[in-house]
Symmetry: C2
């Protein structure tokens, strides 16, 4: 586990209070490395939305921002159904099988951690998206998903939204398998919309979430 992953994990678990400015020297001391690798990690984390620019220099732990979530899910609603449609034409039964395995493995284990659920969730969609063989489009979708992770990780420790989401997954998979292209896209769009609205509502009721 490299420095980037360590810091990201700690951010995901809310180890650093929102709004706090992260100084290179502090972070370096905390993780017992020099400032050079810290610089690299912070730059990358900033680009991926895990950290926010802080004034003219430095970075800070971003606040939870419902408007950001709204934007992220709006974009995902536009891009992911597109990518899924492009994938559908190239879907093999083997890919569908792997996707189903992922869903089944979630269904079976009721004792999965929030992180593990989130990871499997993405693996399911990514497995389908990758079949499209559109690396650029995939990369942007993946990046949007990464930005959402911060909020999902925060929410999923308190909220359980798994069961309905799972049913939607199975319905999407079936529509894909039966080549009902438009339905699959529409289901996915609703799937994302629902998740986004739940998340925004949760953040707003929680007064910004901190």
């Amino acid at each position: 586990m490299n420095l980037y992953e360590k810091i990201k994990a700690d951010l995901q678990r809310g180890r650093f209070p929102a709004g706090q400015a992260l100084k290179q020297a502090e972070v370096a001391e905390h993780y017992e490395v020099s400032r050079i690798p810290v610089r690299d990690a912070l730059q990358r984390l900033k680009n991926e939305g895990w950290l926010a620019p802080h004034g003219k220099r430095g970075v800070a732990v971003p606040q939870f921002d419902p408007l950001e979530v709204e934007d992220l899910y709006l974009m995902r609603m536009r891009l992911e159904p597109l990518l899924q449609s492009l994938a559908q034409k190239k879907l093999t039964s083997e890919t569908i099988g792997r996707a189903r395995d992922i869903l089944d493995s979630m269904e079976g284990n009721p004792s999965l951690s929030a992180e593990q659920i989130g990871s499997l969730n993405w693996q399911f969609h990514a497995c389908i998206y990758l079949a499209a063989e559109r690396p650029t489009l995939f990369a942007t979708v993946e990046q949007l998903h990464r930005q959402c992770e911060r909020y999902i990780g925060y929410q999923s420790r308190r909220l359980h939204y798994q069961s309905t989401s799972q049913k939607e997954h199975y319905r999407i998979l079936e529509a894909l398998q039966q080549k009902r292209e438009k339905e699959a896209a529409a289901l996915l769009a609703r799937h994302i919309e629902t998740a986004g609205k739940k998340l925004v509502a949760f953040l707003r009721t929680a007064q910004g979430g901190h």
Copy 2:
């Protein structure tokens, strides 16, 4: 002009041959700095699509890839009309005036360089998009535009696609001003689609463009 900008400018002008691997030491020597700032710059350029990962380590100058362009423009077609629609509700006459000024300044000067035209082009759209006050959505759109820049910069040295594009700009601006929301979005979508198709066609006829 910092190192990041210098390297980017040289990439934009095709100073480094496509496919070439860039080694930190070489780049550092070429620009007469140490490897530390080179590392920072290369990482950022890689994240923005100006450089591609090269095996397990290092970066390389990416090839021109028509499929990448197709993806970029597909995404822009989905996201930019959305952002423009969100902006429309908040458009002031002052913003519209500034947008018109940008278009007029392009119209007047027939002796603008390719880079200048590209810059003004983006300034026009960005001026409208910013009115939406949706920083997250704007950031992604801006990033997509940055990735397109590499191709536009390459093309615009050979192709002149200005005049038709300019007419489309004026039509979009008028639709926005007259609150014809759907028309403005549709015009923008077509505007992007047209530009994308031209660019892809150009790259394909030019055998990948190198």
